[in-house]
């Protein structure tokens, strides 16, 4: 009968009306009292005592709690993580960048040269305003010094602000993505978990840190 298809469509939308909502309210969502208590894991009295303003807000359903979308460990983030101690200044990343947006300037090393010659990095600028986050620089890095980051909140009002300077790379909190870093995946590293910050450059390497004996064996005895 004419109209059955229309009715079927109406029921489908009705079914979806009653179904779950798929919105992720990044960066925060407004919740009422119940949601706030669930998030803070507090009893109502405790919540009232510690955060009276927020308690009143939550009664009106205006208390804000952060909400983030799920993010895969391999997610290629906007910030780059760079371990200076691992970097030799070979500029492979700059060569392999399809857009040529990595600027690297080095001077012959003043560092300890026991493990082979290295360079001091004077300039290491990544212009993420033009970056397409393909990750080829990370793929090219032979010493696992450069990693894709896992953050995505580096929006800026100025173009200049979109250049990551070397100082920021040095000081930034390092939660690298596992993109092209199978060793990190083997460790089941999740950059978005709490306490995922990597402080020691040894932890991101492709190999175990060699012991002194192994180093002596390889670099002294074999030669």
């Amino acid at each position: 009968m004419f109209g059955i298809g229309l009715l079927k469509g109406l029921f489908t939308t009705l079914k979806n009306l009653l179904g779950p909502v798929f919105t992720v309210q990044y960066p925060n969502k407004k919740v009422g009292l119940i949601g706030a208590l669930k998030f803070h894991k507090k009893s109502p009295l405790e919540f009232l005592r510690t955060q009276p303003n927020e308690f009143i807000k939550s009664l009106a359903g205006l208390h804000e709690v952060p909400e983030y979308p799920s993010q895969a460990p391999r997610f290629r983030g906007q910030d780059f993580n760079w371990f200076e101690d691992r970097c030799t200044g070979c500029a492979s990343c700059a060569k392999y960048c399809p857009l040529g947006i990595i600027k690297i300037e080095t001077t012959p090393g003043s560092r300890d040269e026991k493990e082979g010659s290295s360079y001091d990095i004077d300039v290491f600028d990544i212009d993420i305003g033009r970056c397409m986050f393909c990750g080829l620089c990370v793929e090219a890095c032979p010493f696992d010094a450069l990693h894709m980051g896992s953050g995505f909140e580096r929006a800026n009002e100025k173009r200049k602000g979109l250049v990551i300077p070397v100082d920021e790379l040095r000081t930034a909190i390092k939660t690298p993505s596992t993109w092209f870093r199978p060793q990190m995946e083997d460790k089941n590293y999740k950059p978005k978990e709490k306490g995922a910050e990597i402080k020691d450059w040894h932890d991101v390497g492709r190999h175990e840190q060699p012991s002194d004996e192994e180093l002596t064996e390889k670099w002294v005895n074999e030669r």
Partner: protein, 405 residues
Amino acid sequence: MGPVRESFIFEFLYCHLSLEASCSSVRIINIAFIPESLSWISFSLTAFFWIFVFVNAALVGVLALIWGERRLIGKFQARLGPNRWGPLGLFTPVADAIKVMFKEDIEPTLSDKLIYVLAPILMVVPVFMIFPIIPYGAKTFLTNISVGVVFVLAITSINSLSVLMAGWASGNRFAIIGGIRAVAMLLSYEIPMGISAAGVVIVAGSLSLSGVVDSQVIPNAIFQPLGFITFLIASTAELNRSPFDITEAESELVAGYMTDYSSMKFGLFYLGEFMATIASSAIIVTFYFSGWRGPSFIPSEIWFLAKWIGVIAIFIWFRATFPRLRIDQIMSLAWKGLFELSLINVLVLALMIAIWPDPTGMQLLLMTAINWIVFLASVYIFGKILSPNLTGNKIKKRSVIYGLD
């Protein structure tokens, strides 16, 4: 004061202002101070007060509808809808309104200035005139004009003129196509709408809206389903709402007749459209859902409001579900489909009223049964015979074949 005094809310306020002798029974508190000889002052004051209330209530209603529509469509589409401003996003339409007010008001060089400015005003003003005549409750209405049904049909048809004016005056080709489409469509749908309304009038035996409500022992939506469906479809078309929104047709004509409008002129169109939805829903409630009638443990105004929101939700549901029809299909639907169906409805009702001029309960049930049989049969026949004609080609459910290996 005659017929105006029928309105309880009007009389209530009037009597608390005027010292008129007949008022003493209505007064609750003795605060009246205007002498009987100056009754025109108290009349004007009352009238202005109620005009103020109705206009502002309509505007607040529009804000509520904008919020409700976006929120409900969001839920239909498995997302949230507005949720940033205020609790549950309640202040979003307020933010929208402020934004619209502060936008630059552009007048295209090619536009016909006077008509360009007049069109949005003409869109809004007539809709305001519908609200006072609707009976919101057993005693809550402002005025009960004796030709209410005709008045409603007359007033709602003005907006097609406004749309044409806007389309013509913009000097834009998208707009003119939208305007011409609007006139063709709105005029065509006036006819099934009017004939369906005639069915209501035949049953009620009265042209006043209060009379229509009083007559509905069984709500007309159940009593005469054919009339209800035709009226619902026709008023959807009158409102330019999906699936008949060809005048705006976002994916075809950008914004149709209001492509070139900006700032508050655009805001007025927006306002007029949403207000028309509210007004039309109120009329549908009055005509087909027995208005304010309902079991008396809940006040009649609440009944009316609940039904009102329900009908608006149906419009929103349609909008969330249906794609748009094409212009020729819309015209065929009006002339080859709804026109005949509404005629059948009127014919059957007129015959039955001629046989049973004053039906008892059993006779009413019998009439309802006959109406439903007529409804199902005529929709079936309409589907079988008319639908191939309707769209200019024979439509048939189809499936794919599969390639052979």
